[in-house]
Symmetry: C2
Subunit: 252 residues, 2 copies
């Protein structure tokens, strides 16, 4: 398996055609998409292209947001955006708000980021997750099929903290072209016994793999090409398959 960081993408702005930018960057890197390739794309450039910026000073703060902001010691404008993007607060503590995003992800701050986000006329902005990351991934896959003649699998990834473990890791917020959870049912171990553990979150594992190539401190490598993983094509696949339903979850 090879992971190739795609360099040379310009800074993405609202309205940019990410598929066109990626197609150009692939060409500039002398790379041609091959069947089975998977592109891992940083959430930030998708969110930016979809203009998911919010100017903090424009946020109207509710009483609930003001109360929570005082409780955890955070900017009430940011807390309002977090509440707008989520269905419930899962845990809170000084400096920490972990919520269930409307998209199903349990994440600190609803995945809202202020790093690598430009100010507008000196005004601070925050960047929300894409409105529908699966649709964004499918759209990118389809646009790249048209431009390059080959439809890559697409993962839109973001990073998050975790229970029990130090350090953030990456995960897939949107997926297109292959099943993000691969089923091992029916496969046998080396001694012919059926495997107890049957489902592997391969899209999250590939998101993590790509993350080590992307780095964290800047977005000069927001796209990573993964080559040499053989996963069957599935046009109906969705990143939602990675979200464990609340009633099956012992930690929500």
């Amino acid at each position: 398996m090879q992971l190739i960081g795609i360099t040379g993408l310009p800074m993405v702005k609202a309205g940019d055609d990410v598929a066109a930018l990626i197609a150009d960057a692939l060409q500039a890197n002398n790379l041609r998409l091959q069947a089975g390739d998977i592109l891992v794309v940083a959430q930030k450039i998708i969110s930016k292209s979809e203009n998911r910026f919010r100017v903090l000073d424009d946020v109207v703060i509710s009483d609930a947001a003001r109360t929570l902001a005082e409780e955890v010691g955070k900017d009430p404008r940011l807390i309002q955006l977090i509440l707008d993007e989520s269905v419930r607060v899962v845990r809170k503590r000084k400096g920490v708000v972990i919520v269930e995003h409307t998209l199903g992800f349990v994440q600190a701050n609803a995945g809202i980021d202020q790093s690598n986000v430009e100010t507008v006329n000196g005004k601070a902005q925050a960047l929300l997750l894409p409105e529908n990351p699966d649709a964004s991934a499918a759209q990118l896959r389809s646009a790249l099929r048209e431009r390059c003649g080959v439809a890559p699998g697409v993962i839109i990834n973001d990073s998050t903290g975790r229970p029990w473990r130090n350090g953030i890791t990456s995960f897939a917020i949107g997926v297109s072209g292959f099943k993000p959870v691969q089923d091992c049912i029916g496969r046998k171990d080396l001694f012919g016994r059926a495997l107890e553990v049957t489902q592997v979150a391969v899209a999250d594992e590939l998101a993590c793999a790509a993350s080590t190539v992307m780095g964290q401190a800047n977005e000069s490598i927001p796209v990573v090409l993964v080559r040499g993983v053989s996963l069957p094509v599935d046009e109906q696949a969705s990143g939602r398959e990675l979200v464990r339903p609340a009633h099956e979850d012992l930690f929500r």
Copy 2:
């Protein structure tokens, strides 16, 4: 970044010299270790070489294990092994026991596995995690330095379920030769703002990357060579750095 599955390792047995087996397999694959290489090694072959097998019929079952076994509907011999290996039960439900391992990992069944484990004279066995995975990783690193002239970073990986997300992913249970949590403090984002998120669990991300090459259903590829990640050497590093202390954990 390249991930190369090391094929041709024999089935590992208790007492085997894993470093020797890996060195031979590298040679058979025409691979020479290079400075900066990281080897990801499946927990199972380390546990087997360290004879961490337990014959289920030899387990003496306590009252506590019998009660818990009835409650969750599992084999009381397995439950006894799980309790022996752990410091507390974090969650339980029919069919599920999630514990805090004596090593600090929060994992279903204390990481005890019955797949890919041979029976002995027809008797079922379970395989415990290595007693000290960091020491196992350090020993492997040192033995490979002697055999190959180059000391690779070493990750011993295992897979686990997670809160909130479907499917298992891999994580690092033992690390040697580099810091498993890389610190981004002091680095700036593209706009010169200090990054809010400062620590990346790079060893877990590399464990996941290797897992996609290892596959799950058999252990024909229990070792993956990761090449092209540049991480500073740290001889004191330990996989324990990945374990979030209980008092900082909102989910234990």
